[in-house]
């Protein structure tokens, strides 16, 4: 399915933060997704939505070159991913760190700059400064010198996000990064992402199953993936009963209540709630 919900003219590929052309991924005979084509401009924020198992994580892994496409091409910043790895940031799906690992919070962040460098040398002061600045941006300074295994899930997650941001990436890929973060932390990081989008033109792909109120204001477009099919467009255009019903292939209801959007699929009673206001903030406060 190659239906484009947005009618943007195709941009110059060398200008794109990310360009996906006719990408298809199959696992044996099973099609994960097919003929995916879209471009992401510098500074753009794309939320990737869809039910569990719809291939959101595999899309990120394909962009990272960790999974080989069955057909099609993906370029990052106009080049194959291997040439621009130091210009991307990646927050993998959350997985806790074991207690007793020989590593502190700041070491995990430092990997974002020096982790792929061979040879034994002490990190220079520029690296230390970048690490400190990023720790400050995600409010992780107070526990940066503690062993990582002793930190809470939310604290570890902020360090992972700092690791992805520390090298000032041009493309940030996140896989459910807000899973264990409280609302103030989500807002802090959203602010940081928005700042970098403006400042350095960082583009963001943000996989989530829950559009929380904290990221709604900065979402430019939504990529919706379901049953091997996909669609991309602005939240207002895409998240409608007609479009999502066509995508799911069964009647889907999109209810726009005063302050939230609810997506109801009748076949399995699954509901995606999308909050579009601060009611959660009030809830958390």
């Amino acid at each position: 399915m190659t239906e484009h919900m947005n009618n943007q003219p195709s941009t110059d590929h060398t200008q794109s933060a990310l360009s996906i052309q006719q990408a298809t991924l199959k696992n044996g005979e099973k099609v994960i997704w097919e003929n995916v084509s879209f471009d992401v401009k510098p500074g753009e924020f794309i939320a990737i939505l869809g039910p569990n198992g719809s291939g959101k994580t595999t899309l990120l892994k394909s962009i990272l070159g960790l999974l080989e496409l069955s057909s099609g091409t993906i370029t990052v910043l106009g080049k194959p991913i291997d040439q621009v790895r130091n210009q991307i940031g990646f927050v993998p799906q959350q997985r806790g760190f074991d207690a007793g690992l020989p590593i502190r919070g700041r070491d995990l962040v430092e990997f974002g700059i020096t982790g792929a460098q061979y040879g034994f040398r002490m990190a220079g002061s520029a690296v230390g400064q970048a690490v400190n600045a990023t720790l400050k941006a995600v409010n992780a300074e107070s526990y940066a010198n503690k062993p990582i295994g002793q930190l809470s899930g939310g604290q570890q997650q902020r360090l992972r996000i700092a690791q992805a941001l520390v090298n000032k990436p041009q493309l940030l890929l996140c896989d459910e990064p807000f899973l264990s973060l409280d609302l103030p932390s989500q807002q802090l990081i959203t602010t940081e992402i928005a700042h970098r989008q403006k400042e350095s033109g960082m583009a963001t792909l943000f996989v989530t199953h829950d559009l929380t109120s904290s990221i709604i204001p900065i979402v430019d477009r939504v990529l919706y993936v379901v049953n091997g099919k996909w669609s991309i467009g602005t939240p207002e255009k895409l998240l409608t009963t007609a479009h999502l019903s066509e995508l799911y292939g069964v009647p889907v209801e999109v209810l726009r209540l005063k302050k939230r959007i609810m997506i109801i699929t009748n076949e399995d009673e699954k509901t995606t709630q999308i909050d579009t206001d601060e009611h959660e903030a009030a809830h958390a406060a």
Binding site: L64, L66, D82, R85, N86, I88, F90, V91, P92, Q93, R95, F97, A99, G100, L101, P102, I103, R104, D107, L108, F111, G112, T114, G115, A116, Q117, Y118, G119, F120, N145, K146, P147, I148, G149, Q150, L151, S152, R160, Q163, A164, L173
Partner: protein, 275 residues
């Protein structure tokens, strides 16, 4: 008196040089062994170095070469077959059981000096020949230089494999290289403490270091330091005692350091957060 006399002899000096080199290699790999959950792989590789040694003894009268080939082969098999930790441990268990049985068979077919074989099991650092010493020097250098070069990407891959892969670190390849490095180290260490007590140099010093520090560089330095104290201290103590084997002292010193480090942490650390 007796100790001073011994320390001037070539065999004792060889033993100290060998112990020092092996301790440095063991200290460097130790924290990675723990981080990657490879304690059982150390045990498995060292036990199978025994099988290799028995084969080497039988075929070419060269237990060290046999042990090296055996350990490296096993390391590669473990790396290729066992990707996940649980799966890997099961694979090691299977190979270990079969390999040890083969070792016993090979040894029963050997009709030369049985001490050659038992020295693989229990270590015989004072019997190290000049040729063996040269081999140990080369092995320890290879291990130490490789570890220093791979240090950062290997640490990244060990702690956070997904993020490391995204940054272009060859996670799988480094895993295999580390297992081979491990096999070389373990076989060398077996010369000092024997295959049975390799863990006392390959894991205990790093485990002690981890009680005291979280900075990865500090952990590595402390780990090497503790391994040196245990290995060289074990050689000296054995010379002084005259009769007790080196491996006994190495295991004992290593364990005492661990107990001290652990109690030190409990006594001096601020109240730790339970996570």
């Amino acid at each position: 008196m007796q100790l001073n006399f011994f320390l001037q002899q070539a065999f004792a000096q060889h033993a100290l040089i060998a112990a020092t080199l092996i301790a440095i290699a063991c200290g460097l790999i130790g924290s990675f062994v723990i981080t990657r959950g490879l304690a059982f792989a150390v045990h498995g590789t060292s036990e199978l170095a025994f099988t290799g040694a028995a084969a080497g003894l039988l075929v070419a009268n060269n237990p060290l070469a046999g042990a090296l080939i055996g350990a490296v082969l096993v390391a590669i098999v473990i790396g290729v077959l066992g990707v996940k930790e649980r799966e890997r441990d099961a694979t090691i268990g299977v190979i270990l059981a079969f390999g040890l049985g083969m070792g016993v068979l090979l040894l029963s077919l050997y009709h030369g000096f049985a001490t050659q074989a038992t020295s693989i099991l229990f270590g015989n650092i004072f019997g190290v020949s000049t040729t063996q010493l040269a081999i140990l020097v080369v092995l320890s250098l290879v291990v130490s230089v490789t570890m220093l070069v791979l240090y950062r990407p290997l640490l990244f891959a060990s702690i956070d494999p997904e993020a490391a892969a995204a940054r272009g670190v060859p996670v799988w390849g480094l895993g295999i290289i580390f297992l081979i490095i491990l096999a070389l180290t373990v076989t060398s260490a077996a010369q000092v403490v024997g295959t049975i007590l390799v863990l006392s140099l390959a894991i205990t010093p790093a485990a002690s270091a981890l009680q005291l520090a979280a900075n990865p560089r500090t952990v590595s330095v402390l780990s090497v330091l503790f391994a040196l104290i245990a290995a060289d201290g074990g050689v000296v103590a054995s010379l002084a005692s005259g009769t007790v084997k080196v491996s006994v002292f190495v295991a004992a010193i290593s364990f005492i350091i661990y107990v001290l480090a652990r109690s030190g942490r409990v006594l001096f650390a601020p109240v730790r957060k339970q996570s």
